[in-house]
Symmetry: C2
Subunit: 442 residues, 2 copies
């Protein structure tokens, strides 16, 4: 096979016919495969079952004697704060424990800022006529949707291999007081898998936003989710902020949704003392505290941050082969054709694939029609619109390995068809689309 | 002893001296007793430990095969919806399962309505210049605080023995479109213990609010919390609404915080299909769903609504004696003095005590100084202000029985001192107050 870019029109027509034949064969298999979302598979979840096997009578009292089955301890039990402070590299007093989802905490932080304002801010975000939010992209669709729902204008910031383009971030944040914040997944970013460089983290810490109520939403979702021998190192943003006195600018989040159980783990929020005090007060109107039995379950099971990291090595053994299969399929299927590029992350849950401009929607719809569900084309961009229509997020974690291989075979064929059609200047045929659904997962 | 109301001034002076002597003796005991909040005690919590003993491998799959350890099922697993629909007397499709707290769900419902509006409403609540909320009182302080935080004007509605004074409710709700809703604890109300009569429930269903976005917050917190042989019967509000086509006006809530574990149970929300559809959409931006493992734990443990009711009979055996001790102490300590009246509920967590006007704050501060913490005087009223300064909420559930008896002895002495001071026209002495704290619990 040679590069599609070098082919003559006739060669492309012939190759398209070949790929369409292959496509029809795959389609006839009646697949029902889902690689649309970053969900752990059952083998990963099984790794945490011992956590649920603990004698519940050992889970009654916190270290300081609180009966965790009863009300109280709004911000969480001390030992849980300590454990996640250790993971995040902050002090326990900088932690509030959340419920089953860090997304919920992020939503609440946006909502509180919107309705009531943030610590040090002069007024609620809602009182800014046209509030704006920075969205490094490709990025995480559920982040973008939160701020979109609250009526923010979403501003795209290009992602580089080192993180968001900080010139662009500075340009918007430092000139326009309507820019209220930015979404970040700083380690093994969703979906590119990149880890922000020290220079980028430093640049965030040094940011001088025009708004007095600007917040960096630092979603450290994949902080312990390396799956290769070499783990990326992310600079501690709170350490970086110390130099600039900018600690109040950062809200950090993590959860155990991809450590223990997705939607049945615990979440943690880290921030400056000023922010913690301010937010604890807002939280106290809403709840008497999150599930502390589940907090103790996690603490007694993992004991230390190293306990969590050790556990994640086991998960890595399941995830790594899935990424390797996916990467091998992409290489063997698409490299010579020269119609796309993809990331090769050391951790996280995604591979970001860029095809030829104008091919992503077509490819995703071809896949869906052949029984392989991918994340919607454009999902990683504000308003779900990829301006070049070329990016596809690949989520290898959930399908079983045999299914993953089939899915990737279909994907490569669909990429080729979409690329050839584009190169030939053809309008994509209107293949019937399967009805859209909203599969769950991050 | 005779009625304080019949005493001469000299007799009152003598009696005050006697009570102060008794007070000093109690004070010297160095008590540290807390009956400020409606918290279950450890023996009640122990009753649910078997729920946590279930083999976790039986808790992996929902009936329809969903792996509950993974993302998905935003509104909860079917069997959980079915269980709580059975308790609430609605259909499973009218249920959304929440997290560890119904208060959180109520807060979210207020917040969504405030920021985004409700189903059928023409605009968000926040766009009403001076929004108002009806607060039957004495009522639940945490309810009132939610709407206070969002800037609502809180309007007091007097409680009768049958529920809120519906003439007052109608008058406000049907004339003023700025009145957006009402807080209700319809069964074993917090703190009076009354259960709304059929006439009151009917009157709610028949309400024709001036606002097109009015909501009744029906917090059925004590729906299965009868502790006497005779359980109060509450008319099903959704049934009542059918006659008037007013189902969209009601948001109903419950949780297992006082069934299994406080802050580690599950909550449920019930509403019309229109509301469920509308709110599910808003929830989907915030979370991928609440802890489904905990949902299955509850379902497998209780199986049926009757399973829950049977479990609550065991709890009743712990609660009933505490109420009986408290009521006996009130009767023997205060009846002859004729300085107060109190409720005698068939369920719930509270006794509402009314002393002479102008005595509640004084009594609570005397108690606190003698080591007995009560709910703050005025807490059951909007803005924490009891216009007559006479109501005190008594929460007998948490102290051990021996402590409860001591607490009530102190309470009766303090009531007598406060009453005598008032009857003698004395300015209360400024006894030093212990520092205020915020004990947790409903």
């Amino acid at each position: 096979m040679k590069s599609y870019l070098q082919m003559t029109a006739d060669e492309r027509v012939a190759e398209l016919a070949t790929q369409k034949k292959l496509y029809e064969r795959e389609k006839s298999m009646g697949y029902n495969l889902d690689m649309s979302r970053g969900k752990p598979d059952a083998t990963q979840l099984n790794l945490s079952m011992d956590m649920l096997q603990q004698d519940p009578y050992t889970l009654i009292y916190s270290r300081k004697g609180t009966d965790v089955r009863n009300y109280g301890e709004l911000a969480g039990v001390d030992e849980a704060k300590e454990l996640f402070a250790g993971v995040l590299g902050v002090q326990p007093e900088n932690i509030i424990m959340g419920g089953q989802s860090s997304l919920c905490l992020m939503y609440d932080c946006v909502m509180w800022a919107f309705v009531f304002g943030v610590y040090g801010g002069s007024k609620p975000w809602s009182q800014t006529e046209k509030p704006k939010f920075l969205c490094p992209c490709p990025g995480y669709d559920r982040h973008f949707r939160i701020t979109e729902t609250f009526g923010f204008e979403l501003i795209s910031v290009p992602m580089t291999a080192e993180g968001p383009d900080m010139d662009v971030v500075r340009q918007y944040a430092e000139s326009d007081p309507a820019v209220k914040g930015i979404w970040c997944v700083p380690k093994y970013s969703n979906p590119t898998g990149c880890t922000y460089s020290d220079a980028v983290v430093e640049a965030f810490a040094a940011l001088k936003p025009a708004a007095d109520d600007f917040r960096i939403f630092w979603d450290n979702a994949y902080i312990v989710h390396g799956f290769r021998d070499r783990d990326d190192e992310l600079m501690n943003i709170f350490e970086a902020c110390k130099k600039y006195g900018s600690e109040d600018m950062v809200y950090e989040f993590m959860s155990t949704s991809k450590v223990t159980f997705s939607g049945a783990g615990v979440a943690a929020f880290a921030a400056s003392r000023n922010n913690i005090r301010f937010i604890t007060k807002q939280m106290s109107v809403q709840t008497l505290g999150y599930n502390k039995i589940n907090q103790l379950r996690h603490v007694h099971y993992f004991r230390t941050p190293d306990g969590i990291r050790k556990h994640m090595r086991k998960q890595a053994n399941y995830l790594r082969p899935k990424f390797d299969i996916t990467l091998a399929a992409l290489k063997s299927g698409l490299e010579e054709a020269e119609i796309g590029s993809w990331t090769n992350p050391n951790g996280g849950y995604f591979i970001s694939y860029d095809g030829l401009p104008g091919t992503a929607k077509r490819c995703v719809s071809l896949c869906l029609d052949a029984g392989v569900r991918l994340t919607d084309a454009g999902a990683a961009f504000p308003y779900g619109i990829d301006p070049e229509d070329k990016n596809i997020r690949i989520a290898p974690s959930y399908p079983a390995t045999a299914e993953l291989y089939k899915s990737m075979t279909v994907f490569c064929i669909c990429q080729k068809i979409a690329a050839l059609e584009t190169l030939l200047g053809q309008t994509p045929e209107q293949l019937p689309l399967a009805p859209a659904a909203e599969p769950a997962g991050e």
